[in-house]
């Protein structure tokens, strides 16, 4: 085993940070899907297979449409933040993806296949962030400072 006392203070990002970039691409794709679905809800709700009464929660399509457009825009923004390795974007990504999955579960009767695809994408996003999100933050910190945690180590050694 290595006897490097700094090892604990220097967790290294693995080669798998690409997962976070993939998660970002997926959440931006989900965001685009949301915007399209939101527009359909607002402008062409006859396209859906059921009326609002057929949904789990009887909410007018106009309200669902705005919710979807809002989620979509936020998702795309979160995706950009994830690519930059921002911690807040990684946390927000999990929350937004979970909300998106719940909304689609409740509205699944409107267009089942769309909802199934979006829920699958949400799961991919959550997996990517949960397993590799921390490494992306480490990578970002390493880029700004080659030895993150160095100051804490020096303070402790004194």
């Amino acid at each position: 085993m290595t006897a490097d006392p700094l090892a604990d203070d220097h967790p290294q990002p693995s080669n798998w940070t690409g997962w976070v970039a993939f998660g970002a691409a997926m959440i931006m794709l989900v965001g685009t899907f949301h915007v399209i679905q939101g527009l359909v809800s607002l402008l062409d709700d006859g396209y859906y297979l059921t009326t609002p009464e057929g949904l789990t929660v009887d909410v007018p399509y106009t309200a669902i449409g705005w919710l979807q457009i809002g989620l979509g825009v936020v998702s795309i923004g979160v995706g950009v933040g994830m690519l930059l390795g921002a911690r807040v974007a990684l946390v927000a990504g999990v929350i937004v993806a979970a909300i998106s999955a719940i909304v689609h579960l409740l509205a699944i009767a409107a267009f089942p296949m769309w909802s199934v695809v979006v829920i699958a994408f949400d799961v991919i996003v959550i997996y990517a962030i949960a397993t590799h999100g921390r490494e992306m933050v480490l990578l970002r910190e390493q880029r700004s400072s080659p030895y993150p945690g160095e100051e804490a180590y020096i303070a402790r050694a004194k």
Binding site: A25, L29, F33, V40, M113, W114, V117
Partner: protein, 154 residues
């Protein structure tokens, strides 16, 4: 020769593990995913070509829901699928050469294709869902393993 030297040092318990060397070795192991992404891209391009040809020559084959299509008519969709299909096959072949442009174009093309399939989904849901799944697979392979392709010898 130098490889053996590095391994020997690591096995002897040196406190300077050969980090750089290990990374390079890991990468070359996973580069096969990029070939897989290229192969999947050619496959989904072929699916798109078939979808496009069916739309142009045999549009009765599609499941016509009462609501019809979201946007465009079936002929327009035929041409869209045909063009995306041809592009995907071409870019898929490009991915096999290890070219950076092919991976970037591949990710963008598959993203656009997934959106197009979502809008076209009601015409033939199962086809569209399969193609969306393939799009995601290609995007995954090209993004997650793109670095390895960059660092490998082709």
């Amino acid at each position: 020769m130098s490889e053996h030297a590095v391994h020997g040092a690591a096995a002897a318990g040196s406190d300077a593990p050969p980090v750089t060397h290990t990374k390079t070795r890991d990468r070359s192991l996973w580069v096969g995913w990029v070939y897989f992404g290229g192969a999947m891209m050619i496959l989904l391009g072929t699916f798109n070509l078939i979808e496009g040809l069916v739309a142009l020559f045999n549009d009765q084959y599609y499941v016509a829901t009462p609501q019809g299509l979201l946007v465009f008519d079936i002929t327009a969709w035929g041409w869209i699928h045909l063009i995306i299909g041809i592009a995907a096959v071409g870019v898929g072949i490009g991915v096999f050469t290890g070219a950076m442009w092919a991976r970037v174009t591949g990710v963008i093309l598959c993203g656009i294709n997934a959106i197009a399939q979502l809008a076209f989904l009601s015409a033939y849901p199962v086809w569209a869902v399969i193609v969306i799944a393939l799009d995601v697979l290609v995007i995954w392979a090209l993004i997650v393993h793109g670095d390895e392709a960059r660092d490998s010898d082709w």
